[in-house]
Symmetry: C2
Subunit: 141 residues, 2 copies
Amino acid sequence: MPHNSARCRSNCPINFVLETFGDKWTLLIVRDLLFHGKRHYGEFLASDEQISTNILADRLQRLERDGVVEKQADPSHGSKVIYRLTQKGRELLPIMLEITAWSGKHDSRTNVPKAFLKQLAKDRPRLAAQILDSLDETEKG
Amino acid sequence: MPHNSARCRSNCPINFVLETFGDKWTLLIVRDLLFHGKRHYGEFLASDEQISTNILADRLQRLERDGVVEKQADPSHGSKVIYRLTQKGRELLPIMLEITAWSGKHDSRTNVPKAFLKQLAKDRPRLAAQILDSLDETEKG
DNA sequence: CGCCGGCACTTGCATTTCGCAAGCGCTGCT
DNA sequence: AGCAGCGCTTGCGAAATGCAAGTGCCGGCG
């Protein structure tokens, strides 16, 4: 937890998320976990933005320490590791959706499908529930 | 705009906001503009988190370049400068409110008043409207 | 008219973080 | 027994950050 660390800067809620997510990479890992069903180290490494392996290892460790992500051995494959969001991590979804809406509006080159933005505007709770459901599916399978 | 820069990493909406806000400081400036009615360089400098002056100058310049903030001379005091959010910047409010809600829930030492969180849960559009109104007030006065 | 204080930056330099490439250790498969 | 895949570590040059001091402009006051 940020506030347990020595370098806590304030108790402002904006600052609180910045202590964990205030860099160019951490939120991309959350995105991959939440929207893209990724669970393995190599999958994060393969994302478009090309995170380097040392940074990835560092960020996963921080996310785990901050209670956003948990790590477990892959039962079906001993040398693999499964990363998944905790409940706290899943609760980032509303933030992620607001971010998507904002970028959808202000980024002329966005890759967000129009249909997704429409659904976001029309019935956000339902969309959120669908995303969490499909995440559960992924984690079961 | 991030995508006009050479170092654009992808067209993902999450990445889009990270290109502008992906560091430990930028969003604190937005917070000060949006929630605390700050407009002057020296006011940002005085915030709890103690941003250093060279970083502040750099971030304000980037925010202006990205169309989130605009800069104008203070008519009442020639050596002062007024910074204000553009419409695009004001539209960050929903993101900021979601962040506040998340931190309010997960940060045991948060300084967010309980009443604020309640209002956030109960009638968010109204709260958002109030915040924007009081921002208009500040900018008029 | 000249000086002084406030304000918005700039500059220089030490420290930290990042980015890239190579390598390591363990596991399962053949 | 050997090899390939996977998660992660290490080393090093480059870039970003943090800190402190300095610069230039404006307004106010004597």
